[in-house]
Subunit: 333 residues, 4 copies
């Protein structure tokens, strides 16, 4: 587990809304996260992350959901049915690009095992491309890893950085991966979990400060992708969840993203509460989406450690002290 | 191979546009179709169908494409990238619902084998649910079947009925499966291939005649789905292909479909020609979409033979002679 | 008012679901329809039709709604907000193409008059092009006509054919205009009202019978458009209403439409009941959409009388007796 | 005309791409902008802005276009046809919310006058709500104002701030209105023009600096809307223009927007060049969209002067010196 501090531990406060207990998507009651990291030999640097939307049987108790595709250059599966029916019927799985079918197949197995009569299920699996550090063509994730990620999912603090689906990811030229954050929006909680794998170094902004530019010259273009998972206990329906999802991109923009051509940016939002609320009441949730998404990306960067992978490729971690020094020069903290 | 005649062989003419040489999607130059049928023991009744959009390397020479989702209650994968970039980069594969990830994984393998440097690819796989006849939970399709379907794809006549992905399908209460048809639209050809697995018996219409109702009482509700693949050599771009795809549903409607809740109806249209044409010239193609889709569904019904599958389930074929008798009573032919 | 009989009066039964009391959109409790027809001199052949979704103040008690655009080559206004918020806040108005802004402005006036504090409102106005019979460039509809259409709206039987927005329309080469129909779907009612202005003569099908082809040669291509308004008292939400709207095109297809390039085909669905129902219960409503849309188009054709308009243009009515003779030859009634 | 300086005149540099000659949408060759400002008595504070996409007849030479709706709580008209056909056939007009139909009607008149045979045209009119300063219910814009805005459109420097459609607008709690900016992206130019009328004071960021928060307490919530018009001479097609439009929201996010519930945020992108370019080449254009949109909003704020309107309402301008002082404290310039 990453020993590196989270941004808020170091005084980096993004946005103005109050934060949940763990500053994690698991602050939404019932939500659980599990990771399986595959780090083997010189070239296997990949994994699986599972987000359970509630504690029950996901197929029997479906979860309201909607997606927004900011940039569809990606391989996420399962979104057509989410759009049509407005529900999830599986946990949400994240992994490396070419593992998607194997993870989806494992997810089907997990659902079939739990539901002996089921003849159809819509696995939802998102991805980013970990091909720089990982032997992506090897597709090293197997069914047992999927099961372990789902069955090992827990509430409480969420591991971030180089873990689960995040093991092989790169973000703003530094080591990326899993990040999370949460916000209180009135009586409700909204949490974000990102798989951050996008952006060029010089584009990075933290709290608006052009940290990337000041950290020095970039050596390479930033492609890659981002998956944003948003969960809430606000009783919003699928149409409203789509409104939430559409704001996810605004959170990415705050960190510097312009959604480059190669960056498949998908935002998936779910609510595990029934009932309804008025659209006029959504503003705190909208703001929470932007803040939590922004912070989750920065969280991934702070927590991810330098990682060496295939063909001797190395992805350096964000240098914490220089980053804080830049932030201090621009802000008072 | 089915010994049953195709509708046009029996004088059933749907629509008014001229028909291509094989009355098949392969009338579009360069398009090839391959099937692998899995019929094993009492309960394996499934398969794979591959549609190659041209003769070259699909990843290197991408194919313009667009999709329309009439009813998103389905598990087709790969559409987000098609929507974003307007191209296919793999053959289109069809199979039974729970096989989708395994087929997608096999399709990735096929692309990786052909392209040693590729680190990302967007497999497009459509599906219908063959769970009535097939041990669907067993997910019996393996990589070797995917390879065989793609590598065995050919131009010329296309097998239909109980073949490939169509082995376990049901349509309008009768045995369904694969059907195809084509139309000439001015200087261009448009072909349709369907995986037909939808509708209740009493809804079936052939050339507008309520054949299903007259064939007698139905024993069960008609859910299921339909995949419609449209190919053309008209130089239409992705926006125009989406216009074509949107007409696919109108062809299904002519056969009696009201796109029932459980019927995941997806239409995917592609063009393997570069260049451009004006929207004002699209009407013959629109009409061709409706006619070819309509006829492809009826083609599947005519060609599919009675099939026995898991748990003693039997799906009877459309009775040809009574059907023709009904058609003759309503039409002059 | 049209003296011509409606199709069902003559024994033409489309679909199988039971019909509401008036076989009209007004069978949905609370729904009211009003028409103002502008027939002046040689060349003014246009009008306005208003559909009130309930008896209250439409701005204060918003109505759940969703739209599906089968072919967006049209000028309907107001749909972006319907998509975002899932509600209507005005009556739905229909008119000739170039009148849309004037009708929208009149609709704003009507809302402002009724709501002294309102500073924003989203007028929803649909249209078809009546330029063949009408001096469309003259934009002859004024605010007083809009007010009269809305304030004159009533429940009960709905005038059809050459009335309101339908005065100048053409459908399948014959005089078109306003048509309506309704269906009972379980405990609920669904009604359709169409402004029918599309299709070429030879494409027309009635109950699947190729009536247009048998009525003889066509003299002209069929462009034009169709507006389909669907109302129900089923407690469906905006996502589900979009599912209903998507089936409207299937009803048009049954009458022969392939949604030609120039045919702006818009379907707008609303529910004036709160509450919720499960997607699994929607099939009767889906079927009702298809049947009611189909019948509403045929209703418009049966009821519309031959009309002479600008520049001596004449649009002949559908010849009832030959049509019935063709139907009798193909069907038993 | 505003005497206030533009941000770049004061050393405020947003983004990194080079700027066009006038730092305006008119840097795209052929693009022209015209304004008519209505400032009469105590309570008329509204206007019209016209953007011509090229120098020719817009109906005869249609302009490739696409829109993205970030938040559809708005009354923009004409987008359905843009989505379907991928083209504009009129200039783009902007105005206050309730004027949209009158401006659309005037725009139709302008097209009809120019094109004696036209029987159909799709007016595209965007809006924001100027009801705080303006007697919005009065709908004071008339046809003559529309004609004057279009016919007065010119290339070269573009007036900004309290002008045209911007007369009555509010942005981030300060006086808003029209802003513009441009970027060079490789061999191409991309320009943005915004009608900025959104956001609460404390949300405002300039170059990432939380200027709004530091300027002191806010007195009111920020609703309102934003129209973003993007023009380019890059030969992008409608699908690619939609990709560009989707990045417009990211530019708004950089200024602090979270797209509040009441903020109808529409982005409309056009290209006046034929030809084609590869998606792999779009990144500079994507970046240009984000930078130009961001700067156009800030441009509107810098240029807009304090304005008094109906009922004694006053909207103060952004205080330039305190703003610059805050920026200097956080940045080196």
């Amino acid at each position: 587990m990453s020993e590196r501090p989270r941004p808020r531990d170091l005084g980096v406060r993004l946005g103005v809304l109050p934060v949940g207990l763990h500053n994690a998507i698991t602050d939404v009651p019932g939500v659980a996260v599990g990771h399986v990291s595959l780090i083997e030999g010189e070239s296997v640097r990949t994994g699986v992350t599972a987000i359970k939307t509630h504690l029950g049987n996901p197929f029997r108790e479906k979860t309201r959901a909607a997606a927004f595709v900011l940039n569809g250059f990606g391989k996420t599966c399962g979104l057509a049915q989410v759009e049509e029916l407005g529900v999830l019927e599986t946990p949400i799985l994240l992994t490396g690009t070419l593992n998607v079918p194997r993870v989806a197949d494992g997810l089907i197995s997990w659902i079939l095992r739990q539901n002996p009569d089921v003849l159809s299920v819509n696995p939802v699996v998102g991805e980013c491309n970990d091909g720089y550090l990982n032997d992506i063509r090897g597709r090293h994730v197997r069914e047992e890893h999927v099961f372990a990620a789902i069955d090992g999912a827990t509430g409480g603090p969420v591991e971030g950085g180089v873990v689960g689906a995040g093991v092989g990811m790169t973000c703003y030229g530094f080591k990326g991966g899993i990040g999370t954050a949460s916000r209180r929006a009135g009586d409700h909680t909204l949490g974000a979990l990102v798989l951050a794998n996008f952006g060029a170094k010089e584009e990075l902004r933290i709290d608006g400060v052009p940290v990337g530019r000041e950290l020095g010259e970039s050596r390479e273009p930033g492609d890659g992708s981002c998956m944003v998972i948003l969960g809430t206990d606000a009783p919003v329906d699928a149409r409203q969840l789509k409104r939430l999802a559409r704001r996810g991109g605004l959170g990415l923009a705050r960190t510097g993203s312009y959604a480059s051509h190669g960056s498949g940016d998908f935002i998936l939002a779910f609510s595990n509460q029934h009932g309804s609320m008025r659209d006029e009441e959504l503003n705190p949730l909208f703001q929470a989406v932007v803040e939590a998404t922004e912070e989750a990306v920065i969280d991934a960067l702070f927590r991810a450690e330098t990682t060496r992978g295939r063909d001797g490729h190395v992805r350096e971690s964000l240098p914490i002290e220089p980053t804080l020094a830049i932030l201090r020069r621009h802000r008072d903290f």
